[in-house]
Symmetry: C2
Subunit: 331 residues, 2 copies
DNA sequence: GTGAAAGCGCTAACAG
DNA sequence: CTGTTAGCGCTTTCAC
């Protein structure tokens, strides 16, 4: 191997193999007609020299990449981790190469612009957007030039494809369960719209499905234990369950409950957390896998020029009954 | 905005702004001398046209990228999720742009070669390797051309930097705890070397620290409940604790124990899982944050040409006593 | 089957 | 302060 493998160019490989640059390229990329003998010779020279094709050059010359870009939200959250992982696997199975850029909790801010710019600047062949943090209006101008699929969140724009979760339905599941267990006054705990649109949407879905049930809505910031105090106050005032817009929040509530020795039903939302069965969490298992698979499949189809699906689709998960949401005890 | 923003070139912007291509570039990149008036004009034209610089072209012309590459292992595991997230944040704080490629559970295989090739092909300025799945000998040839920092796992090669965990010490922590609680016969449950080197290493560390304690070593495959049956058999035969090489495995054991109504101490390793406090898991909290921060900081320093650190460093976490590893009850 | 030549879109000296 | 001039490394017609 050369002492500076990354400095080796096709030119070098060609010279060393005694062929022209174009022949070397052909041999390496396996396109056009080429003599088998030449091909193997060039290949072995390339290997010996440690040649690593310069992608910038090749993308530029070829006028585009085969790579698809993924914009992701902070993976510390197991839900995004699971989504990421599943997208990754699906993409690999579909023969798509993926490059990922992540975006912190910086709604509407600098980061997303930059991340999006980077991916578009790479002239990715397609875009998967798995973060609520990116506004549709930023994406929209590019929708006609590169296929964009949003995953895990509803998409308002009709120009952008989406595979999301049927959160309204999920809310119905939880509300029905709470009702069935006799809860007549509950608190709904979840972020306000500006903090996390997803959580907000979930909370609203819950409230909407709760119908006649008396609801104390606690809208909070991003930190899991934001609003826990308020929720407990409502419990003291007579609420019999704290319905949370995410499992992380539910954990915070359980922690607070345990600490104060208060007994109260809770539920969450996500259903991804390893060990949630041991904890007995009552929650909704969100269909991460379906959405991820569908998004990748859809993108692959778009890249192939096929399109026949409705532009937006929603997937349904299931209720995990658990043990934290219990029947109301009548005094 | 142009009807085809991604087709707009500096040339177009320059023409529209009535300047030359190089002036336009200068205006956009803010290098060299440029009249403030021209700059704003060019900028506004670029904005209006929806110009997105072609990075392939710019990287090629500039002879390199500013981007650093991250090779990551499957993020479904909360530990990798946490690591990923922290690296991301640290990189952002350090002003580094990150592109990530992930590698499935394909030790030594095609995927890593491809992923590495993609990053090197992009001519990244530096490389962060956060997966055990990439062999050192693949990395080594490039270590002299691009700074490479391995994170979260020991690195055998002296050419490659590393910020890893002091697993031997962690093993000591757990072993001491088990001893102190009176466990005289334990089972150590963790993957075999070929399946997960990290887990294997942990298990070995445990065994080594366990000294005179009688140990049944159960070496398994990757699935969390592999080997659980064997572990329980050892418990039936008299072992008083099952020490696991990861928290995921510990969960599997707890599940099996609960199912069979058997009572037995357990411990895990990782300490990242949200809600582990509620579960009372006894485990070691691995110093993900320290390693991630150190790795990014080191890489940034390397990119600046500073180097003074020992090439390999190890970080120490802490014991989370929990409630799953309990004193042995004497009959 | 192979080589020569013309760029891809951008940057970076240089002059002016 | 701005325009001109060379490329960066690779792909791709098009002749031979």
């Amino acid at each position: 191997m050369a002492d500076r493998p990354l400095q080796v160019t096709v030119e070098d490989v060609a010279r060393e193999a005694g062929v022209s640059r174009s022949t070397a390229t052909r041999a390496l990329r396996g396109h056009g007609r080429i003599a088998e003998a030449t091909r193997t010779r060039v290949e072995s020279v390339a290997g010996r020299l440690g040649y690593v094709p310069n992608l910038a050059a090749s993308d530029l010359a070829a006028g585009g990449t085969g790579v698809v870009g993924l914009m992701l939200r902070d993976a510390a959250n197991p839900v995004y981790g699971a989504l990421f992982s599943r997208i990754e696997v699906a993409a690999r199975d579909a023969g798509l190469e993926l490059v990922t850029v992540t975006i912190g909790a910086d709604p509407g801010g600098e980061q997303q612009v930059q991340a999006l710019g980077r991916l578009l600047g790479m002239r990715v062949a397609g875009l998967l957007v798995a973060t609520g943090g990116v506004d549709s209006h930023r994406l929209e101008p590019f929708a006609s030039e590169v296929p964009i699929v949003r995953v895990g969140r509803d998409e308002p724009s009709a120009a952008i494809h989406a595979e999301s979760y049927d959160e309204a339905w999920h809310g119905g599941l939880l509300a029905a369960r709470a009702h069935e267990l006799g809860h007549a006054r509950v608190v709904v705990l979840g972020a306000e719209a500006a903090t996390s649109f997803g959580e907000h949407e979930r909370a609203e879905a819950l409230v909407a499905s709760l119908g006649a049930t008396r609801v104390d809505r606690v809208a909070t910031g991003a930190a899991p234990d934001d609003g826990v105090r308020d929720a407990l106050a409502a419990v003291d005032a007579g609420a019999t369950a704290v319905l949370c817009a995410s499992d992380t929040r539910q954990l915070a509530v359980l922690r607070a409950l345990a600490e104060r020795g208060v007994d109260c039903s809770t539920s969450g939302w996500d259903g991804i957390l390893p060990g949630l069965d041991l904890l007995g969490l009552s929650t909704v298992r969100v269909p991460v896998e379906s959405a991820a698979d569908a998004a990748v499949e859809r993108l692959a189809a778009l890249l192939d020029g096929d399109v026949d699906l409705p532009i937006h689709r929603r997937w349904r998960g299931e209720l995990l009954p658990g043990r934290t949401l219990r029947p109301v005890e009548h005094a």
